[in-house]
Amino acid sequence: MTDISQSGAPKHASSLLSKDARTAKRNRAESRFKLYGILAIAVGLLMLITLVYNIVSRGTGAFTQTFVTLDVTLAEDKLDKNGNRNLDEIKKVSTFGYAPLIKDAISSEVEKLGIQTDLSAKDQAAILSKSAAAQLRDYVIANPDKIGETVQFRFLANSRVDGYMKGRVSRESIANDKSISPAQLDFVDQLVADGVIVKSFNLDFIFGADASDQRPEAAGIGVSMIGSLFMMLVVLALALPIGVAASIYLEEFAPKNWITDIIEVNISNLAAVPSIVFGILGLAVFINYMHLPMSAPLVGGLVLTLMTLPTIIISTRASLKAVPPSIRDAALGVGASKMQSVFHHVLPLAAPGILTGTIIGLAQALGETAPLLLIGMVGFIASNAPDSVASGLLSPNSAMPAQIYEWAKRADPAFYERAWGGIIILLIFLVTMNTVAVILRRRFERRW
């Protein structure tokens, strides 16, 4: 056969349908649309990859740290002048009193290794973190019987030295820097060659407390992690029962009238309220009116409860609705009461959906910073680890995202690295929670 007309579509061996111009146009539009879709996904993926690459490449440095191993002689004449090992007298020696011990320790190490350097003892000791004196003092107070002996310590190196070991600081970049000199970096090189300075994994970043601006090398996210944990406990303990009870009542028992309609609309509106609003509310109600302590995870938890509640109610109601009416009818038909039908049949079937909604609500609350700004949980706070559940709830603490925000603001570039490291930890938490939610839904969800 020959073509009937040039305008007609070419024939297909497999199909009798011949495409006219308009069909071809529609098909082209469709393939164009598919292309846009693929492009959109590609752009999204590219952004995700860029983000993850950035986070990982900038943040992994925070998990390693430079350490200096030194033998320190805990001189009795400096730490316990009367020699009676009275703890109150030992405590009178402040961290400033421990600085000479560290200077002596590093000088004797240099002598032992036969390192040639023109640096003064003070400049030599400057490669150590400011936290070294505090570390020594804590050790002596915990072990007063060790006074007079020589003990080996692993001190943190100063953030500039740490940056040098990680390639962040170079001899060029410190040209105008007052806190470290090229001669000190040469000294560091010599100590590295002798194995005194090593870079190793830093568990303290994950479990430690925040540190002040002068010692970024000592800062950790651990205490703010505990703060986040306590807030999540408060959210879970309050938002889950209140949210589930409210949705069961609204979904199963409440009469359908204008009052419940208004409540419903308001719950949906509440879910869209910016989180900072809950922070202001928390400040006004929980702190100024109820006189709850400032900066406490309890208050943070209460504020986040308010924020999470609508999310939980909406997802709970959706999963209650998804249970087919035939189940309720069957239960009522064999003589169950309304409450029995809800608690024996509907709620267990809706549980996976409720749990998923709760976990996603918690994950959202975990990453929230804005409301915490107003109730005093952002700042130099997470420096005391709580020692009991009550103090975990009531003593001041920060939260992981607030800690990251705080680090990102500080002047020393070493804090910037820690902020990215904190983001990695926070992301691990969020991904884990979301994965758990997905697994729960996959395993237990029933479809009708």
Binding site: R137, N176, Y249, S383, P396, K409, A411
Partner: protein, 346 residues
């Protein structure tokens, strides 16, 4: 039934909150973000060396901190406000209205304000006149007050490169802004003669002329930064021609990214600020609520520790971080020990 449950839960929250209002045992501090690093260094050392818990230090700006400070007396209010400027009379009046009458003012030392550009950008040698001519909304041209016509730095001063003026200055909630206005813009205003012209235009009213002097242009050449210095730094990194206003301590921690400009020929450093040669510096303060001393454990010890020689002295950790130590520190120590309040004999 679930309503009963609901109200039971509500009651439970109320019960928890009632018992939670127990005594606070740590010092609560808020205020200037310039003072924050110093305060956190002190708080950390305080926690290490005393049996009191580490004080909580928040930031937010001098004005925000003083506002919280003046909310009243009681455990749900802060004990100490950090400020990078002196407390204003209007703030003292606000405090008094809320019952905060006895305020102890503590000067911890001095801080320099520096002007810095990107390390790869142009370097500058400023005078206050340059800044006034670059940023003011009205300048004097041939004896007439006109809207600021300067577009590039070369228009301001022929010695400067012909790049667009782009300045990142602290927002109005920062105490640094006020010092910038007083010591730089106003000085430039007076020196270029615009002050006299404005004074004449405002009917010889000195206050109105001062106010008119510090009015900055709003055409986008001057950008207010309400966040911290890290935000200013980020702006400069993305705009190599930009010039930012920083605290000396911040600059000293970021010498690999910033180059500092001289002011009237003086390079800012702790030494040149201590001698008073470098003109743009200001005292830093913190304010203590006397009514909280004895109620909040460790409050007085914290204040005394802050100004102790081993902390705020010339060889202490604060000076090492960038604070210019106060030559009259011993007077301050005495005043803190005596709990001398503002207004003295009131």
């Amino acid at each position: 039934m679930s309503f009963v449950k609901l109200s039971a839960s509500a009651l439970a929250i109320a019960a928890v909150s009632a018992t939670a209002a127990a005594a606070r045992d740590q010092v609560q501090v808020a205020g200037s973000s310039t003072v924050l690093p110093y305060a956190s260094i002190v708080a950390e050392a305080f926690g290490e060396n005393f049996d009191f818990p580490t004080p909580v230090v928040e930031s937010g700006g001098s004005s925000a901190g003083l506002k919280r400070f003046c909310e009243g007396v009681g455990e749900n209010t802060i004990d100490v406000a950090n400020a990078s400027r002196k407390i204003k009379d209007s703030e003292i009046a606000k405090c008094a209205e809320a019952g905060v009458t006895d305020i102890i003012e503590v000067r911890i030392g001095y801080d320099g304000i520096v002007f810095a550009s990107d390390i790869a950008g142009n370097s500058y040698e400023f005078t206050p006149d340059d800044w006034f001519l670059a940023l003011s909304d009205k300048v004097l041209v041939d004896g007439e007050l006109v809207d600021n016509p300067n577009v590039t730095w070369a228009d301001v001063n022929p010695n400067f490169p012909a790049v667009d003026i782009q300045a990142f200055i602290p927002g109005t909630k920062h105490g640094t802004r006020e010092v910038f206005e007083d010591k730089v813009i106003l000085a430039g205003c007076e020196h270029t003669g615009a002050f006299d012209a404005l004074k004449a235009a405002n009917g010889d009213d000195k206050k109105a002329a001062e106010k008119a002097c510090i009015g900055l242009r709003t055409d986008g050449k001057s950008v207010d930064i309400d966040g911290d210095y890290t935000e200013t730094l980020a702006r400069i990194e993305s705009n190599k021609d930009g010039i930012g206003v920083f605290g000396l301590a911040f600059y000293e921690n970021n010498t690999d990214k910033l180059q500092v400009a001289t002011m009237s020929g003086i390079v800012p450093s702790t030494e040149s600020i201590a001698t008073g040669e470098y003109p743009v510096s200001r005292p830093l303060f913190f304010y203590v609520k006397k009514a909280h001393i004895g109620v909040i454990p460790g409050l007085k010890e914290y204040a005394e520790f802050f100004v102790a020689d081993e902390i705020a002295g010339p060889d202490g950790p604060l000076a090492e971080y960038g604070l210019v130590s106060d030559p009259e520190l011993s007077d301050t120590q005495g005043a803190v020990a005596d709990e001398a309040v503002l207004g003295g004999n009131s």
